[in-house]
Amino acid sequence: MDERHPLASNSLEVTIDKILKNTENDVLSNIKTALDDSQQNLDDSVPKLEAEYDKILSDGKKEAEKIEKQIMGSADIEARNKQLMALEDAVDKVFSKALDQIANADRSGDYSNLIKTMIEEATQILGTSEITVTTNAKDKDVVQSTLSQFPGAEMSPDTIDCLGGIVVKSKDGAMTFDNTIDARIERLKPLIRKEIASKFGVGE
């Protein structure tokens, strides 16, 4: 019924084979190219990946160093601040004990000599012997008796609140010289603090 030409059938097969062969070659070649490309891409990515990997590592290391610095820095500062506060506490205690001792010190003996030196110092600095001297209630008698050695000096009827020593004013009221023990301590406080701190082993 369906009789084909023998040549036609053979030719078709050959053609099909040829097409199949070509396709196979194409596919194989494509696969090879794709493989090569992939291999090339992989090869190309390695240095990029390595660079990326190194960057991530180095960024991480930097970040870690930064955080370490932050933690160490604030811990150091906190510890130092606590030490400072403890030291200041101790210095204050020493100070207040010393001030108590000064306030309750005996006013006899050398104390009148100290007052005399203080008045001499004040008259010299003010440049006048016409002065009014003020002191606290406790030292009033000692100062009064010392003033007899200073003509031109008079005692103020007022008293001041201080540990000891005197405040000297020129009679015209223009100049005042504070030579109380409080003022002298205040002026020397930084040096005294240093001295006390060195006893605790700080600032040596």
């Binding site: 930064k66 610095k69 160490m72 820095g73 130092r80 506060m85 504070d178 003022a183 240093k194």
Partner: protein
């Protein structure tokens, strides 16, 4: 320091602006410290500006508001203003007059030093030549700072100079040596939030422990600003020359300092100079800037980075103008770059570090540093010209090489100049980016770098 105090005078002749004129004064000395006592017993510090004819003119640092002629006393302390110094000042925060502002007690002083400092013997000065790494690429790479240098930052109102100042303070370090490094930061007339930012920034980065902060805020009396840079420099000199540390001093904003000086000058009725600033502005500024340097036989150094905001961005204004005469170069922040959102907006074409050449190269940074920097400077300058040309003829009218230069300009601004405020770049990283920029150009355009460096670092794209 002696136990003897000074005399207190109660005859105030006049109170004029920040000045108090005291009558019948004997034996007062120039620059002597004065304690001015108000009716309520409040004490303010001042110093003697002039003495003569039985009068003393006293400049009150904390202002004269609330003082009256009748009820004010002036006590002449008998010494100049001194700053207590010791290693303990590191990690501390002080106000503009050097008083603790961090709630902690006064530091235990090792010494008390006159805040006016001692002039450096010019013969004893050592030429600055050692690199300081700030971690900011544009500074390290192209406007390198060296130890002992004074390199100001010229900025403008509202620009990011304070961010940059804080970043430098946090990141700065000396490389290749085990010597101690410290930062002294003086904020002069800054806003409260800026002062807080500086403090917090150093605290949170852990850099506070090697720093000393002096904060004079905008609401503090203007006259205090005269003292702030001086106390800061006194501490810096102590740390540098007594303790052998390398100290970076950042002073911001020197414009506020100059304005305080103008205020005093006006109150003293002195003949005004340019823009009302006193004629001695140059001399006065030099007494601050010249306190930077290195000394023969001493281990430490004082490096200064004063920051000043130029009124109306005017670089010919007396403050930047006179500063530029004294300092060794300048870092100029550009308004255009700032508007583009670039940080730090450093205009390298207007910036210069005069001592850079001695602080870079083999043994300091890297052998190719100078040449790569020059090449990028040249390329960026060309990029600016090309951009201007493109504005006229359009991009289509540019040659291929012009386009490459435009690309160089973009990469320079986006990758080299732009940096996060917490990004600390090493000098190697900085030089790496500079080479990346240069690698955008064909080799025949590279004319300022030796072939051996081109072979080593150039990576054509």
């Amino acid at each position: 320091m002696t136990a003897e105090g000074g005399v207190q005078y109660s005859k105030i002749a006049e109170i004029k602006g920040p000045l108090v004129i005291v009558d019948d004064v004997e034996n007062a000395a120039f620059d002597e410290l004065v304690e001015v006592e108000t009716k309520e017993g409040e004490r303010r510090l001042g110093k003697v500006l002039e003495v003569g004819n039985g009068k003393a003119i006293v400049q009150v640092f904390e202002g004269t508001t609330g003082l009256s002629i009748a009820a004010t006393n002036a006590k002449f302390v008998g010494k100049v203003m001194e700053m207590p110094v010791s290693r303990e000042v590191l990690g501390r925060v002080f106000d503009g007059l050097g008083r603790p502002k961090d709630g902690l007690p006064d530091p235990i002083a090792d010494r008390f030093i006159d805040i006016n400092g001692e002039p450096m013997n010019p013969e004893q000065r050592e030429y600055p030549k050692d690199f300081i790494q700030t971690g900011v690429s544009v500074i390290d790479g192209m406007i390198t700072l060296v130890r002992g240098q004074k390199l100001p930052i010229f900025s403008g109102s509202g620009m990011s100079h304070n961010l940059l100042a804080a970043q430098i303070a946090r990141q700065a370090s000396v490389i290749g040596t085990q010597d101690d490094f410290a930062v002294v930061f003086a904020a002069i007339g800054v806003q409260y939030n800026e002062a807080e930012y500086f403090r917090r920034s150093l605290e949170e980065s852990g850099a506070l422990k090697r720093s000393v902060l002096f904060l004079n805020t905008a609401d503090d009396p203007a006259i205090e600003r005269i003292i702030t840079p001086r106390v800061a420099l006194t501490v810096a000199e102590y740390l540098a020359f007594e303790l052998g540390m390398h100290v970076l001093v950042i002073l911001t904003d020197m414009t506020n300092y100059a304005e305080a000086l103008r205020e005093i000058s006006a109150a003293r009725e002195e003949v005004p100079g340019r823009k009302g600033y006193p004629g001695y502005l140059y001399t006065d500024l030099s007494t601050i800037y010249e306190r930077a340097g290195k000394l023969n036989g001493k281990k430490g150094s004082v490096t200064q980075v004063p920051i000043l905001s130029m009124p109306s961005d005017d670089i010919t204004h007396p403050i930047p103008d006179l500063t530029g005469y004294i300092t060794e170069g300048q870092i100029v922040l550009g308004r255009d770059l700032f508007r583009q959102g670039v940080y730090p907006p450093v205009n390298i074409l207007m910036s210069l570090s005069r001592l850079m050449k001695d602080g870079i190269g083999e043994g300091s940074t890297r052998a190719d540093h100078g040449e790569i920097s020059n090449q990028v400077y040249d390329a960026y300058s060309r990029a600016q010209e090309v951009r201007a040309l493109a504005g006229i003829v359009g991009k289509a009218g540019l040659t291929e090489i012009d386009l490459k230069y435009m690309d160089v300009g973009d990469v320079f601004e986006n990758e080299f100049l732009s940096q996060a405020t917490d990004e600390n770049r090493t000098i190697e990283e900085t030089l790496g980016i500079l080479w990346k920029i240069v690698s955008k150009l064909p080799k025949n355009e590279i004319t300022k770098i030796k072939d051996k460096y081109v072979e080593q670092y150039y990576k054509e794209e």
